[in-house]
């Protein structure tokens, strides 16, 4: 039978632990910062390329 949401989900402490699990490297905040920082760096780089090769 196709499990209902409650049947499939881990329970209690197990689910809480999973939700709070830290990444295997760095921290979530640091990883988010890397992703957004890369976007900022790319926009700057592409802006420079656009200006230089206009």
């Amino acid at each position: 039978m196709l499990d209902s949401p409650t049947r499939l989900s881990p329970t209690g402490v197990e689910r809480r632990e999973e939700m709070d699990a830290a990444p295997p490297f760095l921290s979530w905040r640091a990883i988010y910062a890397i992703v957004l920082g890369a976007l900022a760096a790319e926009v700057v780089l592409f802006g420079v390329l656009t200006a230089v090769y206009r």
Binding site: L8, M19, Y32, L36, T50
Partner: protein, 559 residues
């Protein structure tokens, strides 16, 4: 096509699919079939998410888009990293908290069944049509350029992908996508290197980029604020962000990819990996198109890239007009060659004044060529049909066929077909999941055995595959294919996202208010699309804003 190309093509496609099915041969039960037993690591999720988004249209249309319109399409993806962080923070924990099979299942826990099924229905309509285009798009272009039968190409792609998706389920899809994505990225990197090596001796890569700039192709970022312009920094960061949020947060074909993760950590890392790699990958694909354009500054391009259409015009009463246009194009190309040689000599002498003068000459010759191409398009439209008049999707594959070495042609065709199969496979599993979980199990047969639901899931997968094939068989070429798919998505995504935003961030608004708001918003978005020239990315913002505002208003009114 040479024997080596056929071997590379079928060897690559066959090996990946056989490996994927072999790796997932122990998958059991409907949970294993729809979510792969929650076994995927972050890199499999990341590559699978990327492969789902990268359809054949991406590899056919995007280089052509750069060839004709420059690099500015890249801005369309600026919202992706932002959206990946937002989806990781706001969506993934909520889906994991309830261990839902589909994104829409979540909405019933917050609102009610009708809201869940409305969003699921919008998804089925939009993604069902897209699945047809996903098969049709490469089939029409490949059949025309390679001289294959259109129906045979559509049926081969559709039947092959439907077969392995029905047999292996979502785990087989993820496993094959991992390797298909490697082939896609590797193939485009090989194409890039080969094109650069085909530039004239002494013409450095730096000069090539400089020439692309002179001819307006390095227009990567545009900070202008006009709402009618499709691709600007602002539309990418807002409209692109909303589209990416809707696509990655609420489109089951993506949600299913990351919900197959071993844990919430793996799912989040997979999405963030996509956020990190997406823009560089699109840059590479667009830059390949720019390099093809530079290649054609030294090797005369055809006046129109769909050679089959040109042949039909040559057989018509208007053939002399086409002959005159081809002659005019050769003359403009000759003028441009002279100006480019002059620019190179001026740059060698570090003569900035002369270089500027030559740049003006190059731009003037390019404008002449563009005008000739436009006139040719009008001619093709008049002699054949409006659908035949757009050759953007033919640029890259025509270049590959005519200029790349044996073996590499087969590899690039494998890239395009891998992309077609990977995105279609995700669509079919998502359509089947939504059909089974949100409609069949919820409204038709709530209590049945696992074996029954597994059988039904396989039947739905096959059914959606057949429907997509039928749609692909009867579709006709619509404007630029990648834009057609994105416009279609944008008409529905904003509304669906709006429902999720209300679900996540407003505890007060009740089910009926959001349901009516979603219906009104969808009507309004379609009205805006029909009545205005607004860039399609804005539909995502408008749809979402309408749902949020109207549901709040309706709820207040009811209170």
């Amino acid at each position: 096509m040479s024997l080596l190309d056929w071997l590379v093509l079928f060897g690559t496609l066959g090996a990946i699919v056989v490996y994927g099915l072999w790796r997932t041969r122990h998958t059991r039960g409907v949970a294993g079939y729809l979510h792969g037993g929650y076994a995927d690591k972050w890199y499999t999720i990341g590559l699978s998410v990327m492969a789902t988004q990268a359809s054949a249209i991406t590899f056919l249309s995007t280089p052509g888009q750069a060839y004709t319109d420059g690099m500015r399409f890249l801005q369309f993806y600026f919202g992706v990293p932002l959206a990946m962080v937002a989806v990781s923070v706001a969506f993934v924990p909520r889906f994991y908290g309830l261990r839902v099979f589909t994104a829409y299942e979540f909405l019933e826990t917050r609102f009610d069944r009708k809201t869940r099924q409305l969003t699921a229905f919008l998804f089925l309509v939009q993604r069902g049509l897209s699945a047809g285009i996903t098969i049709y798009a490469p089939a029409i272009v490949l059949s025309t350029v390679m001289g294959w039968s259109l129906h045979a190409t559509s049926i081969s792609i559709g039947a092959f992908v439907t077969l392995y998706t029905v047999v292996g389920g979502t785990r087989a899809v993820s496993q094959t996508q991992k390797h298909q994505m490697v082939v896609m990225l590797g193939g485009m990197a090989v194409a890039f290197v080969v094109i650069v090596t085909r530039l004239p001796a002494g013409f450095t890569f730096g000069r090539a980029v400089g020439l692309a700039g002179v001819l307006g192709k390095m227009n990567i970022v545009d900070f202008s604020t006009g709402l009618g312009s499709r691709y600007t920094f602002w539309s990418g960061m807002t409209g692109g962000f909303f589209l990416a949020m809707s696509y990655f947060g609420t489109d089951q074909s993506q949600v299913q990819r990351y919900l197959s993760g071993r844990s919430i950590t793996e799912s989040r890392l997979g999405l963030l990996f996509n956020g990190l790699v997406k823009i560089p990958m699109q840059f590479l694909i667009l830059f390949v198109g720019v390099m093809v354009f530079i290649f054609h500054q030294f090797n005369a391009p055809p006046v129109f890239f769909n050679d089959a259409a040109l042949t039909r015009v040559r057989g018509s009463r208007r053939a002399p007009e086409l002959g005159a246009l081809e002659q005019a194009q050769r003359a403009a190309f000759g003028r441009k060659q002279t100006a480019i040689a002059g620019l190179e000599a001026a740059l060698d002498r570090h003569d900035a004044v002369e270089a500027n003068a030559r740049s003006v000459g190059i731009r003037a010759a390019e404008a002449d060529e563009l005008a000739i191409r436009e006139t040719t398009r009008h001619l093709v439209r008049e002699v054949l049909s409006p659908a035949d008049a757009n050759d953007t999707d033919y640029i890259f594959i025509s270049f590959v066929k005519a200029n790349l070495p044996r073996g590499v042609i087969g590899l690039l065709l494998a890239v395009i077909l891998c992309a077609a199969m990977s995105s279609t496979a995700s669509e079919l599993t998502a359509l089947a999941s939504t059909s089974v979980v949100d409609f069949y199990k919820r409204s038709v047969r709530p209590s049945a055995s696992d074996a029954h639901y597994l059988r039904v899931a396989k039947l739905f997968t096959a059914g959606w595959g057949v429907l997509a094939l039928l749609f692909a068989t009867f579709a006709s070429l619509v404007d630029n294919l990648i834009q057609a798919v994105n416009i279609l998505g944008s008409l529905f995504y904003g509304t669906i996202l709006g429902v999720f935003v209300v679900a996540f961030f407003s505890k007060r608004v009740r089910a009926t208010a959001v349901f009516v708001a979603a219906l009104c918003s969808e009507g309004l978005v379609i009205a805006v699309w029909l009545a205005t020239d607004l860039g399609f990315l804005w539909f995502n913002v408008i749809g979402c804003a309408f749902v949020v505002a109207l549901s709040w208003l309706f709820d207040r009114y009811r209170s």
